[in-house]
């Protein structure tokens, strides 16, 4: 399915810190390729390669303004990626909530007689 492939490309494109930095810059407004490249310590061709990946993933749109090449963010693909994350985040969190409740209500959960009872400890990576 085409949308599925696009989502994969979006995630792959987002998996690179330079490309995320480019997107963050574009989130503040449209700019030229040279302006985008300025903060990075890498060559213009390298930036262009990153931009191409972002463009193929439909994360940005390139336009031409005379001699200048400009880029702007295309929020649709980001929205789709965010939707995927949001859906699964909710899916698993609510499932785990229900699992905890389910086990609390089964006799077997008393098998740990002296375990400290805490409601969902917050985990850190």
């Amino acid at each position: 399915m085409a949308t599925d492939r696009l989502l994969n490309e979006t995630f792959a494109a987002l998996a690179d810190p330079t490309r995320r930095a480019i997107l963050a810059r574009l989130a503040t407004g449209e700019c030229t390729v040279n302006e985008l490249a300025a903060p990075f310590d890498i060559s213009l061709p390298a930036i262009s390669r990153h931009l191409k990946v972002l463009e193929q993933a439909s994360l940005i749109v390139k336009t031409r303004d005379g001699q200048r090449r400009r880029c702007r963010l295309d929020p649709l693909a980001l929205d789709r990626a965010a939707d995927w994350l949001q859906f699964h985040r909710r899916f698993w969190n609510e499932s785990l909530d229900r699992l905890a409740v389910h086990l609390r209500h089964t006799r077997k959960s008393k098998e740990i007689p002296h375990g400290p009872y805490r409601k969902a400890r917050r985990g850190k990576k």
């Binding site: 989502l7 792959a12 086990l103 400290p116 400890r121």
Partner: protein, 146 residues
């Protein structure tokens, strides 16, 4: 690995029960059907062939009446500590994703850690535990804390 760099969602919960109990709740259809899915989703059928290479299916009746079937096969089955399986949604996306669940005994209970990865390639058989680790870089804001 380059094609497998993809975003992941992680969820974790400390639950006052043993790893074995949680593992069973996760892998026995009759139990799974009682808790599976977010609020509003009803699990109407579950079939699980719990062995490496074995398949599973989970039917989810969505709040809007749609029936969504999740299918896949097991890649890692290590009771009561670890499970890893592919995840495909029918009807829908054709690329398999992957779910890894770990049950880690701690503080008199068990920490359940779920990692749901979106695998861009079809090589779901590779069992590199590290696979998802690299994906978490830059993803901390998506890591589930609650």
């Amino acid at each position: 690995m380059t094609t497998e760099r993809s975003f992941s969602v992680m969820a974790r919960r400390w639950i006052p029960a043993s790893a074995q109990l949680l593992f069973d709740a996760w892998t026995q259809p009759a139990e799974l059907m009682q808790w599976w899915g977010p609020t509003g989703v009803k699990c109407t059928d579950a079939r699980i062939d719990l062995r490496v290479g074995g398949t599973y299916l989970i039917d989810n009746l969505m709040p809007d009446g749609r029936l969504v079937r999740i299918v896949g096969d097991f890649e890692v089955v290590e009771p009561p500590r670890r499970l890893s399986y592919s995840w495909r949604v029918e009807p829908g996306e054709e690329t398999p994703e992957r779910v890894t669940v770990r049950f880690e005994p701690c503080d008199g209970g068990t920490e359940v850690v779920v990692i749901h990865e979106r695998i861009a390639s079809t090589s779901t058989r590779d069992r590199h535990e590290q696979g998802w680790q690299g994906c978490l870089e830059g993803l901390s804001r998506y890591v589930i804390a609650n």
